[in-house]
């Protein structure tokens, strides 16, 4: 068990460290003006991605993510190079440069920039897989702010009513953009899925191993009875919402920084091993950025399915 647990800790640390370094790289690429648009990093929340996504089976499961999707994508096995290329607008980007930071799709992974908009879609896909007799489980990530959207409740109701094999995973980082949770929501958020017939378990994401353990149990439960569950994680983002200024109380941020789950995980594995992992990541990412930047610019879409033929003069008079 000790060995297995050690292996698991290494796996989770490596996952989290990769996510952290990829997003730090993105931040600096944006700062340097080498990327444009905007992005939402999950620095500080990596335990959610590493803990939950690692509990899935990439052969049959699927993930619906949010605007803050890089960590989920990487934990799902997405290539840093493809992510960089996507944000750099390269042909080899995850979505050929069309989607950018928020709109990723790869191998059963989907994200979109509309809060909660993907939740009914996740229900539908889960039901399709169930109908096909596959035992796939879907994870639908949500933020606390996203509990503002009505579509989420329509989806929870439908998921519970029809038995969609879906695990809703809430990353409650206490804020939606600039607005704290208590200024957005009445009642206790974790009580809401329950009111729609979805059993909900709450967990501090400061402990990545515990998240993985819980996620594994819940994914298994969903797989067995094809009923949705909710894993409600308390977490914190250590970076600003997007590229804009961070107006949160610096003391609050600092206090959470002291509890950075990445450091927590690092402390759980041998230092040399951690150093080696870090070094390997740095090397991999330097290569990935260089490669992505050297790739060809994204190409215009080929098939314009419902495109109109451009109007051409047909009258005789011109």
């Amino acid at each position: 068990m000790a060995v297995a647990e050690g292996d698991l800790a290494v796996e989770i640390y490596a996952q989290m460290a990769l996510i952290r370094r990829v997003e730090e790289t993105l931040q600096s690429l944006f700062r340097q003006g080498r990327m444009r648009g905007t992005t939402h990093v999950s620095i500080g929340q990596e335990a959610c991605a590493a803990g939950v996504v690692g509990a899935l089976d990439r052969g049959r499961d699927f993930v619906f993510s949010t605007h803050r999707c890089h960590g989920h994508f990487l934990a799902w096995g997405g290539e840093p190079r493809a992510l960089f290329a996507e944000l750099l607008g390269r042909e080899t980007g995850v979505c050929g440069g069309l989607g950018g930071s928020q709109h990723l799709c790869w191998n059963g992974f989907f994200s979109n920039g509309i809060q909660a908009g993907m939740s009914p879609v996740a229900v539908g896909l889960a039901l399709a897989r169930k109908a096909a007799g596959e035992s796939g489980v879907g994870v639908a990530f949500l933020g606390d702010g996203t509990f503002g959207e009505g579509a989420l409740y329509e989806s929870m109701n439908l998921a519970a009513l029809w038995g969609a094999p879906l695990l809703f995973v809430v990353e409650d980082n206490g804020y939606a953009q600039s607005t704290p949770r208590r200024a957005q929501h009445a009642g206790r958020l974790a009580a809401r899925p329950t009111a729609f017939g979805i059993d909900t378990v709450t967990q501090e994401a400061g402990d990545p191993m515990a998240v993985r353990q819980l996620a594994t149990a819940l994914v298994h439960a969903v797989r067995v009875d094809a009923r949705p569950r909710c894993l409600y994680l308390h977490t914190y983002r250590l970076a600003a919402h997007s590229l804009s200024e961070d107006f949160r109380d610096p003391d609050e941020v600092e206090a959470w920084r002291q509890r950075d789950p990445l450091l927590h995980m690092r402390a759980r594995i041998p230092a040399e091993q951690a150093d080696a992992i870090d070094a390997a990541i740095d090397e991999r990412l330097a290569e990935a950025v260089a490669a992505a930047e050297s790739e060809r610019p994204a190409r215009p879409r080929v098939s314009q399915v419902t495109g109109a033929t451009p109007a051409a003069p047909i009258g005789g008079e011109r």
């Binding site: 799709c105 879609v121 539908g124 039901l127 399709a128 897989r129 579509a151 439908l158 495109g307 109109a308």
Partner: protein, 336 residues
């Protein structure tokens, strides 16, 4: 696809008693029978009720488990259908009244219609959204609208509107077989009508046409869906008044180009464009714009619902909607 392309003048042979409604119901029955991927979902679809307009009646009994009655959740219905389609199924969702499509506008436009393009062709969303639309039944301002104009010009979204002069079931089948999301609008007043023979071109979503009077048409009328109830009598009246007229009824109304039809019809001077939706940036605006841009020089008049809510009182509703008289009057003025 212009009339020249696949025009074959084929006249549909329908079973004697087939109506607009039974054609749709039968098509769904056949699709369910043939293709295990097809399923229906929407509010109150199950037997014995069979849907608010009874289009799915009999299907849940014949195909247990393949017809799903949903909660009253239009956004989730369309979102779930989108996910089902992503998962390889062929969902046909019903929105009980087209007026409620606005509750699913985000799902249709920012999700279903975008996925294929924005995910770089990695997925398709072969989903059909059926919606009964239109006025004339006194249902009042929130149950009588023709809001499909708000879903025109959406990248990735097709809009199909059958009439009794098409084969509604065949259109529905084509919509189901389409790789992209299709909004399929059915005018409420057409449901009980018997199907009628008409010429049509060879497109998957054919355009039907009817000519009235002898010789080249002096007036070309375009409409879709429920507009047929005014335009069909109108061209007959015009013909009776000595003005040969042609009615052109596309079934696929998004991105419809009237120009080839105008050429085919012999470049008539008078073109009347008719839609039941309210005035402003609607279907007829696009047609008029295309005719103008193409330099046809045609004299154009749009006839739409007035720029107002649709009242419950029948005589008021009638006073705001288009009418055969209005079509005839516009045509005569233009052709004069």
């Amino acid at each position: 696809m212009g009339p020249g392309a696949g025009a074959n003048g084929v006249v549909h042979g329908h079973a004697t008693r087939a109506t607009f409604r039974t054609s749709l119901t039968e098509a769904m029955a056949e699709l369910l029978q043939e293709d295990p991927r097809v399923l229906l979902l929407g509010e109150d679809l199950l037997d014995p009720y069979g849907g608010a307009f009874k289009v799915t009646r009999g299907l849940s009994r014949r195909f247990p488990g393949r017809v799903l009655a949903t909660p009253v959740s239009e956004a989730a219905i369309i979102g779930a259908a989108t996910g089902l389609a992503l998962g390889g199924l062929r969902p046909i969702a019903e929105v009980m009244f087209g007026d409620f499509l606005l509750l699913a506008a985000d799902q249709l436009i920012n999700h279903a219609a975008k996925f294929r393009a924005m995910y770089n062709e990695q997925v398709t969303v072969p989903m059909v959204v059926r919606a009964p639309v239109g006025g004339g039944r006194g249902y009042g301002p929130t149950h009588s609208q023709s809001l499909e104009k708000h879903f025109l010009g959406v990248p990735g979204l097709k809009v199909v509107a059958p009439t009794q002069l098409h084969d509604p079931g065949a259109l529905l089948r084509a919509a189901v077989e389409d790789p992209d999301p299709v909004l399929f609008v059915e005018h409420k007043l057409l449901y009980p009508l018997e199907l009628q023979a008409a010429d049509h071109d060879g497109d998957v979503f054919p355009t039907a046409w009817v000519q009235a009077g002898q010789g080249d048409p002096a007036v070309l009328v375009f409409t879709y869906g429920g507009g047929v109830r005014w335009c069909l009598p109108a061209i007959e009246q015009l013909a009776a008044a000595g003005v040969p007229a042609m009615l052109c009824l596309p079934s696929r109304i998004d991105r419809f180009d009237p120009c080839p039809w105008w050429l085919e019809a012999g470049e008539p001077r008078a073109v009347v464009l008719v839609e039941e939706g309210t005035a402003g940036s609607g279907w007829t605006a696009e047609l008029a714009a295309r005719l103008a841009e193409a330099g046809t020089g045609a004299h154009i008049r749009r006839i739409t619902c007035a720029d107002d809510i649709l009242p419950a009182a029948g005589h008021l509703e009638d006073s705001l909607l288009p009418s055969a008289e209005a079509v005839v009057a516009a045509a005569l003025e233009l052709a004069r």
